[in-house]
């Protein structure tokens, strides 16, 4: 049983052996894992000790299916397992921007800088959301035309709420 993971852009193959062996890109390691609390792991890998916090990666406030964020010795490492049949390719490349702009946090719409049908460029400022006393400019995740504006100025929005669609 093999698992394929994309770790910070690097492709890794994992296989679980018997008696605590784990094959990492075909090299065998002795691994012992203890789960201390939800998301807090103690790993011993070939007598090396790691205390690790793992959580699911969030997209628009919701946990993703195969994405994880691993906190290891002060670093934040993204790990994405690939779906069966996607071997080798998926996960390593980031998903392309769908054109749907979601609010990254709950807040209030302060300004809408574009109008329906307007052409926008990737990275162009399209909206300002106030949250936690700061005004935060949201930028377009792709170049295209504004197809739909789903909110009004002054409206309160939730994390993950769809604000605009660029096509």
């Amino acid at each position: 049983m093999k698992y394929h993971a994309a770790v910070a852009g690097q492709s890794i193959e994992l296989e679980l052996g018997s008696d605590g062996a784990v094959f990492l890109n075909d090299k065998s390691h002795r691994v012992e894992c203890r789960i201390l609390e939800t998301g807090l792991l103690s790993l011993l890998v070939d007598d090396h000790s790691y205390e690790i916090v793992v959580r699911r990666e969030l997209k628009g406030g919701k946990p993703t299916k195969n994405g994880f964020v691993v906190e290891l010795a002060g670093h934040l490492i993204p790990v994405r397992f690939e779906e069966p049949g996607q071997k080798g390719a998926a996960g390593v490349k980031e998903e392309e921007g769908s054109g749907t702009i979601e609010s990254p946090m709950p807040g209030r719409i302060v300004t809408i800088k574009v109008s329906l049908g307007q052409e926008v460029k990737l990275g162009e400022g399209i909206m300002v959301v106030e949250a936690m006393k700061m005004e935060n400019e949201l930028t377009s995740s792709k170049s295209g035309k504004v197809k739909e504006i789903k909110v009004k100025v002054g409206e309160a929005v939730e994390a993950g709420q769809e604000l605009m669609v660029i096509e």
Partner: protein, 508 residues
């Protein structure tokens, strides 16, 4: 000494003040908004009163309600913390009018130095240099554009009542002026209820250095060291240290002297901070006074041994500085070793430092030798969108800067906050950067090195990370699985990978 102090604040600073009061034996009164009922400051105060709904404008900023609670509870003094009403001169006066001691300066001192424009006039009078800029607020975008041309770009727009980078915008070209002006004044209005802006020349490559002062009611003023606050993102400090690794002994002496002269001129009483810009030639410019306790006061406490909140209380109670400081005023304790503070924000450095509100699931704070955490975060705490995303401060001390940094790195690794995104890893990246290590950073450091810092923060052992994520996922599947009765124990030492077969969607 006071019998009962009302703390007109929330979060870590309210807890900080409660701690100081407990250590003197003063009773404390908390005020809270509807969503803060379970907050630490409410639980730890001796009394607690609801003052309104979540938005600060309807609760923590309503002066009349605060005064009413003070009277009802019999509090004889009010500590404003920082932010909220702390630099509101009218509130200081209102307290005085109601015979409640405001723990901070009088309203008129605030008006003289707390207002950035007025502060320029005072500085000119006592011959302390300031950054070229205006002494009156802007009246229109057009005036802003015209003055921008006059000073030469880049210029800085700043809210008259601002602080902490709110209502502040750097403007590089005249084309940016209109949008910058509107965003800054809108932010200023929503944060401080005052949309007046003024403009100054942007000093290139500046260091932000500030001096902590204390003044007593007899008119004595001392400066107890400086803080280097140049590690900033979005114009907000994230790391501070004392002493400054950048300024020379001669500059330090001049800054401390200037701070004392300014405070004396304003007849300043209680704790305050004089902010300066220092450029690469060690030329310095007075910026403004913060007429209150600063977020970063702990670094001064750690190198001086003076509890600044305790000192504030004692000054307000009429005690004299030499007694409070326990040393001759000519030589107050300072610069015993080195201290650093990292501000822990619930934010995502990967996405422009956007705030990350949510529920804290688990917290593990560092401790051990010379590590201090000032925090109000606890398991199940809700980091709300209504208040500042700064959730804790981590402070370390060492006899040398190097030791303080190494200790901070150690402490950051011990720190775990689960539930919201934080900048813990970003601090580690900053501390690992050679420019920080050499103490040569200026206020543009973070912006200039953002991509490098992000990369530093995401490096690491990919193989171990993959194993951990896999085991985590297998464990989740195991717990969720109805088959294994052992699945209910998350603490079992069963070999999790034996259960791998049960998980769909991960097999290859």
């Amino acid at each position: 000494m006071f019998k009962k102090v009302l703390i007109a604040n929330r979060g870590e600073i309210a807890v900080r003040v409660i701690r100081a009061c407990r250590e003197i034996g003063i009773k404390t009164v908390a005020v809270y908004s509807e969503i803060d009922r379970e907050s630490r400051h409410v639980r730890w105060a001796d009394e607690a009163y609801l003052v309104g709904p979540a938005p600060a404008k309807e609760s923590y900023l309503v002066a009349d309600k605060i005064i009413e609670v003070a009277k009802r509870s019999g509090a004889d003094a009010i500590h404003p913390g920082y932010g909220f009403l702390s630099e509101n001169a009218d509130f200081s006066d209102l307290c005085a009018k109601n015979n409640i001691k405001f723990i901070g300066p009088r309203g008129d001192s605030m008006r003289m130095l707390g207002d950035k424009v007025a502060a320029r006039r005072v500085a000119a009078k006592v011959k302390v240099p300031t950054v070229p800029g205006m002494t009156d607020p802007l009246d229109s975008v057009d005036q802003a554009k015209q003055l921008g041309g006059q000073f030469g770009y880049p210029v800085l727009l700043k809210a008259r009542s601002g602080g902490g980078g709110k209502g502040m915008r750097k403007v590089e070209r005249v084309e940016e002026m209109e949008s910058a002006y509107q965003m800054a004044s809108s932010e200023a209005r929503s944060s401080f209820n005052d949309d007046a802006l003024y403009m100054e020349k942007y000093v290139v490559g500046p260091h932000h250095v500030e001096v902590q002062i204390l003044g007593d009611e007899a008119g004595n003023v001392i400066a107890i060291g400086e803080r280097e606050c140049s590690v900033q993102r979005r114009h907000q400090k994230i790391i501070e240290e004392s002493p400054s690794p950048f300024i020379t002994e001669a500059t330090r002496k001049k800054l401390l002297e200037a701070a004392v002269i300014l405070a004396k001129e304003a007849k300043y009483v209680n704790a305050g901070t004089m902010e300066f810009l220092v450029d690469k030639n060690q030329d310095y410019y007075f910026l403004e006074m913060n007429a209150r306790l600063q977020v970063e006061h702990p670094v001064t406490e750690q190198v001086s041994g003076i509890d600044l909140v305790r000192a504030q209380l004692r000054i307000a109670a009429g005690e004299s500085l030499d007694v409070i400081v326990g040393a001759p005023l000519a030589a107050p304790p300072q610069n015993r070793g080195h201290a650093i503070e990292c501000r822990i924000y619930a934010e995502d450095p990967d996405q422009g430092f956007i705030p990350s509100p949510g529920k804290i699931e688990r917290v593990r704070e560092p401790s051990g030798p010379w590590v201090r955490v000032d925090s109000a975060v606890y398991p199940r705490a809700e980091i709300s969108v209504y208040y500042d995303p700064m959730i804790a401060k981590l402070i370390t001390w060492g006899p040398t800067r190097e030791e303080a940094i190494l200790r901070m790195e150690r402490a950051l690794r011990e720190y775990q906050i689960v539930g919201v995104k934080t900048n813990l890893w970003f601090h580690e990246a900053v501390l690992a950067h050679s420019e920080f290590r050499q103490g040569k950073y200026d206020t543009g450091f973070v912006e200039r090195n953002l991509e490098v810092l992000k990369r530093l923060g995401h490096e690491g052992h990919a193989g171990i990370a993959a194993i951990a994520a896999l085991f985590f996922q297998l464990q989740e599947a195991k717990v969720a699985s109805p088959r294994g009765p052992e699945g209910s124990s998350t603490n079992s030492n069963a070999s999790s990978w034996k259960l791998a077969g049960r998980r769909e969607g991960m097999r290859s």
